[in-house]
Amino acid sequence: MLGFVAILVFFTIQLPDTFLTARNLINISQQLSMLAVVAATMTIVMVMNDFDLSVGSMASLAGIVAATLFAMEYPVWVGLVGALLVGVAGGLFNGFLVSIVGILPFVATLGTLTVFSGAAFLISDGKTIFGRDIPAAFSGFARGGIEMGDIKIPFLTITAGLVILVCWFVLEQTNFGRRLYAIGGNKEAAHLAGIKVKRLRLIAFGLTGLGAAGAGLMYAARVASANPTQGSGLMLDAIAAVFLGMTMSRQGEPRVVYTLIGVLILGILDNGLTQMQVDSYIREILVGLIVIAAVAIASLSKRSSA
């Protein structure tokens, strides 16, 4: 949390003219909206000590499914619903493997990562779908926003905000969410305490798949094209964001609000370092080191207080 403020202050001082401007912040929020959606829904499974490696390729697949439906001249809503359904189905399949069959989440979702990615290549024939195939109503959404005075809040940011709000509500204010936390606390005890562990894990993975598909659509709308690898960067960043967030909570459990801060830290680092014209390879090294340092400091300080 302190680190977050420190990073903000650092860039504000280093980039006095460009960093802390409404324009730049809105820019950041739009860039981060996809990651925020994936990370928030990733939090749902990570609450149960599970995780989902397949979100990135699911995002790509969802973009491809929608674009393919558009290319076949279906209306926009059919494309959206189709892509989201694929997301839910893929997520439920993950949940089925993990919860009913009993495969470790790492192995199961590593497998489906490859499956989804392969499916995206298969459907798109390995090509990027763009240009006239993508309807203006779809890509226009990503460019639009709500005018407020002289600034425009992008629809993508608003969508991400809504998803985060829903995830927060589901995890912290409903019994469903608190049962997920109980499962994360101790699966066997949760089962004996009458919590339907299998069913809830299945549903949670479905929600994560849905979030991944949603993020894939947002991405496709933003770049007005769909490509079978465009979501691949999301998975590692999303997991990193949740881990960063976990360092801030009291018992080290994942929480949506802290995940959001994790997303912001990653995004602001990236934006600030880019503006400081730090080489992109060095930027990656720095971001990785900062994530490791944050988690290391948190676990070291936890050990000394215990």
């Binding site: 204010q173 469903f176 109980a182 606390g185 101790n186 066997e188 004996l192 305490a193 018992q251």
Partner: protein, 502 residues
Amino acid sequence: MDSLTFQNMSKAYGGVPALQDVTLALKGGRVHALMGENGAGKSTLIKCIAGVVRADDMRVEKDGHAIPLASAQDAQAADFRFIHQELNIVPQVSVAENILLGRRFPRRFGVAVNWPVVRARARAALMFLGADHIDVKALAGDLSPGDQMLIKIAAALVTDPKTDHQADLYVLDEPTAALTGEESELLFDVIARLSATGAAVLYVSHRIDEVFRICDDVTVLRDGRNVSSCPIQETTKDQVIRDMTGRDVRDAYPQRAQPHAATVTAQLTSVQTPRLRDVSFELKAGEVLGVAGLSEAGQSELLDVFMGLEPVVSGKARLLGRKLPSDPAAAWQAGVAYLPKERRRQGLMLNMSIQANILAPHLHTHGLVAKAGRERRNALTMSAKMRMKYDSIDQPVGQLSGGNQQKALFARALHGQPKLLLLNEPTRGVDVGAKFDIYQTVRDFSAQGCAIVLTSSDLPEMLGMCDRILVLQDGQQTALLDCASLSSADLLSHFYAPAAKV
């Protein structure tokens, strides 16, 4: 070694004293009991002796010579051996590896593990314990809890032949908590052998009967201070309980409630399950039924039947006039509450708050969206009813003492007025004061018409609490006894009685 004394032991955590000027004088060849309620400072004392926690002040003398004791290495060098309360074995590897765990395995050609020597050394340690029935090649996880405890003791016994030291001190922390009566007997034999080597044995237990049977001296702690210390012949059980609690606990078991209502809560007729045979009984509202037998004769499985965890294959079973629940979720819905045997593994979410732990099975009662205020009130009411001690209801339950953790599970089970309460080892690792609270609560609920099925490896507890006791032998029901005129010896004889073959 003749004498080993720890003097002026003091330790404070963040300004709160856990031990204040405690003295412990041990003698070679004698078994010394350390007693006290949860939170009296026993665990801290053991940690100081083990060098795991650094005492603020402590002088250690072995045979009159001061020795350093600031780290786990010092404790090892002083030939102290520890057998901890929780069964920390590695279930996936063999018995022999578990016994030599943490030591340098003997090697061949400098690199490869010399397996025959590893096994021989493990076998020798087991042999010394009189536990040569354990196969050193078996997986540790496949053994019964009693045999697992023996492995741990064997691990403490193993010595490096190059530096052939006998241990001077064995510390056993609640070793019988996970054992049945029969397994405990075996352990007592082992303790006798250990002290016969001339080593001092420090024995920590809540079970006062055991202590009076096998110990030579007893030291009682209360609130981090010495209360009394003397040879065991010079004191009495009542006196020790008074020393521990600071009050009289006249009758550990509260009086039985009035005769039961005529309502039948559960009825089983010739029930057969994968692990049980010929189980028939009728459980009335307010009745306390004990399930007893040797180690793992099917006690847990009989409780599991009511949770939908042990499917009925044949026979008739009714609960509250309906079919048995099919899974734990349905069981809780139907008014069955379950207190599992292993509180840390099966019961608690240790990192989560007391409130979350109490409410885990009861989230549906308030609809879909959480009602924060009402839930907090419910959790507070239940924890107060159980007389739990904590700083905040939002505190992680793992920070509480064992007795308070168990009370949290009781608060969970009793929330929402259960009609059938299943208790598996309800007072394991719980101190005398907390035990009394628990017994009183069980009585109160039985008086309100809640039927209770109880199993415990503590026989006096079974006799003190139950109305009837069902005896199982290897999954088969062999007797259903009335407790009113039953003695421990009678009950035990039924455990071993040859089953009437049908």
